[in-house]
């Protein structure tokens, strides 16, 4: 059963080769432009991308070292009848390694806290445009408060998409009369937007990859999510939280438009109410 004295090199050689190819392919594919997300459209998004890049470099280096180390060790120390270099280990090495790992990993985490804090700790400013996002099986509804700037009260018992009231706006509340309910999200560029994300039935999610943001829509909770888009365009909204058999059908669009177009949009919709 010889992997014997002369060193049957094939498995060792093959392993080293495959690992080398793995490393090469991985580095190549990860740097390829075509496999990256489209550019971020917020400043925060760009910070997230920076953090991603930093993480990629550090983990990439670790990946390279480990896979190539594995290849080298397996190949160099294949059984060729050599003497084994006996050792039980080294406490010094373990301690050093632990310190390096702690610094690297915790340091990385520490560096990433700002991008998180800006979105999640800091509330939106007082003049942010508030838009309510209501998700249900399997649609998105977006509600604007209308000219009066107030959202009308919602009553789950009044929910009736079939008669044009998918959110269950209470008709007795005057604040709700001018609310604008649409299936597509339109926002002005360079203005802070605060989304109030909620669900009518099961857990859904709101995700726009260009924003580098997502948030679960949990029934019983209204989750705020704020951002400021810096580029106009149309971006896809998807639901990432499994919500039933129509989960794959749930999507909408985020339209980032100029300030004028946004005003026109609001006027247009207000006229219909």
């Amino acid at each position: 059963m010889a992997s014997g004295k002369r060193g049957f090199a094939a498995p060792a050689f093959l392993l080293a080769l495959v690992l080398l190819l793995l490393v090469a392919a991985t580095v190549f594919l990860f740097s390829l432009r075509s496999f990256q997300a489209p550019p971020a459209i917020t400043v925060n998004g760009e910070q997230v991308d920076q953090q991603y890049k930093l993480t990629l470099y550090i983990t990439g280096a670790a990946f390279l070292l480990a896979q190539l180390g594995l290849a080298l060790a397996a190949f160099r120390f294949r059984d060729r009848g050599q003497r084994v270099h006996f050792t039980r280990g080294s406490n010094t090495v373990e301690i050093l390694l632990t310190i390096v790992a702690v610094v690297l990993f915790l340091g990385l985490g520490f560096l990433g806290r700002k991008a998180w804090a800006e979105v999640r700790y800091t509330p939106s400013s007082a003049d942010a445009i508030q838009i309510e996002v209501t998700e249900s099986q399997f649609v998105f509804h977006f509600r604007y408060p209308g000219p009066d700037g107030k959202f009308g009260r919602l009553d789950p018992a009044r929910i009736s998409p079939s008669t044009g009231n998918p959110l269950g706006i209470d008709e007795n509340d005057p604040a709700g009369r001018d609310d604008i309910v649409v299936p597509v999200l339109t926002v002005p560029v360079n203005r802070e937007i605060e989304l109030l994300i909620r669900s009518q039935d099961v857990i859904h999610n709101f995700y726009v990859r260009e924003l580098r943001l997502q948030q679960d829509a949990v029934p019983g909770i209204t989750s705020p999510l704020h951002f400021t888009a810096t580029k106009t365009g149309q971006y896809e909204i998807v639901c990432t939280q499994l919500c039933g058999s129509g989960h794959h059908l749930m999507h909408s669009f985020l339209n980032v438009v100029s300030e004028t177009e946004y005003e026109n949009f609001l006027k247009q919709k207000a006229a219909i109410q």
Partner: protein
Amino acid sequence: MSAQTLPLRPPSETPKGFLRKYIFSTDHKVIGIQYFLLALLAVVIGIVLSLLMRFHIVWPAAHLPFVSGGVMKPEQYLALVTMHGTIMIFFVLTTAPQNGFGNYFLPIQIGAPEMAFPRLNRLSFWGTVVSFLCLVAAFLVPGGAPISGWTSYPPLSALGAIAGPGEGVGQTLWIISIAIFCLASLVSAVNFIATTIDMRAPGMDLFRMPLTVWSWFVTAILSLLAFGVLLAAGVLLLLDRTAGTSFYVPAGIAVSEHLQTHSGGSPLLWQHLFWFFGHPEVYIAILPGMGVVSHVLSCFSRKPVFGYRAMAMAISAIGFLGFLVWGHHMFVSGMNPYSALTFSVITMSIGVPSAVETFNWLATLWGGKIQFKSAMLFSLGFVSFFVTGGLSGIFLAQPALDNVLHATYYVVAHFHLVMAVAAIFGVFAATYFWFPKMFGRMMNETLGNIHFWITFVGAYCIFMPMHFVGIAGGVRRYADYTGAAYLASLQPLHRFSAIAAFITGAAQLIFLFNFFWSLRKGKEAPINPWNATTLEWVTASPPPPGNFADNPPIIYRGPYEYSVPGVRDDFIPQNLEPDKIIRTGQE
């Protein structure tokens, strides 16, 4: 001691009759094989489900002859997703590494004749079988299997059939199955822990135990503390479904215009309870594999494990820290953002003992004399996949990045690399390594090598593309990706994965063939074909009842005394009397 004395017991008899000996046995070795075979059945089913899933993603409109209506419906796809995850995680990854090999080899490796509680052991196994049957039955009931994923988040999983197909009886069966599994696992954990603490042979100190025993021991502690929480969560979910309670379902829910009568429950409560179990669960899946890899790497490098104590402590650290990080599954759930950062920091810190383990594996190889047996190849492969899969976790552990990657295929890539590949490689390594001991025959090494190469390359081909799908924002658990334009553009990556999956899946037949053919026709195995040091290799292949016949072992040294300078043989069994060691006279 009490005034009572232990009544003299009759000598242990070999049970007679086929049923007592092979079906309802209390022998830990038989039970270990039974668990292994259950896991084997489960993994075959699980792989078939996953191939159907892959097929559907790439060809959603394809006509399938065995599906009623001809084309797979979205709920059928989601049922596959749910059952694939549930079967693989519970009945393969929680079963084979721990209950399969652990049951078989833990007592032997500590020099014990049996597990502490053999009849409880039998109960655990058959409980697991009942749990499995209950789960699979969900496919056959009206409405079919549940569609809420293995994570079963309420309200989707709590509202009953109105929430979707499969959410009726199917979901209830799922909960009952998992509850039974929890009970069986708890009993098994008690057995493992008591055995390790109280039944070690003379001289088998804690730091002379093989790392496999360490990993089974720590894993059992994780099981003990985690499964009770899942059981509680499941009980509350069952009550929400059947008894009108509102633990998880908030007020004011309207499903398809039907107002639900629940009041003020919290969906996040389920997530906290579930993931408090769920995160330790994935360490339950991987730790035994890490133990096996240390064990096998040492044997086939003919070198002690580098930093044995550090390895034992790293296993314990990973186990302990694993209980503190569950929130990293919930970064975008609406949980308190400050706690998110806490969970993130602790999650990143798990990278530290993992790095120690990885470095020590490489250091074990370094300066060794490596034999590329199949078990060794799979152990080396484990290291590669553990690194790859573990590193992608560093991205997901940061909440700012998780904002982008949560519930995308990046996550799918991450957990498959560590669980579906690395942990399974651990099972393969264990199988190739211990088959001779368990069955008295050798497996075919050539077939083993071929199995390794196809699986190693194939697994990377399946899961690497998924990282890119995720980075591009490709969402998971979609029955059809042709709806949103950018998702449809990622189909080529899915196709590549699918083709690799079919090839790699088919290659597993080589393993199955090798396994079953060698049972009958394999070359007869010697007692110690690998010249290994631990106690399983000093007794017959397979071991007799009571494991050591009339020679209960006494332990004199640690578990990895390979190539000790000044000794003629390049290994010293743990139970060899010191005066029987043959020295070389040369240093």
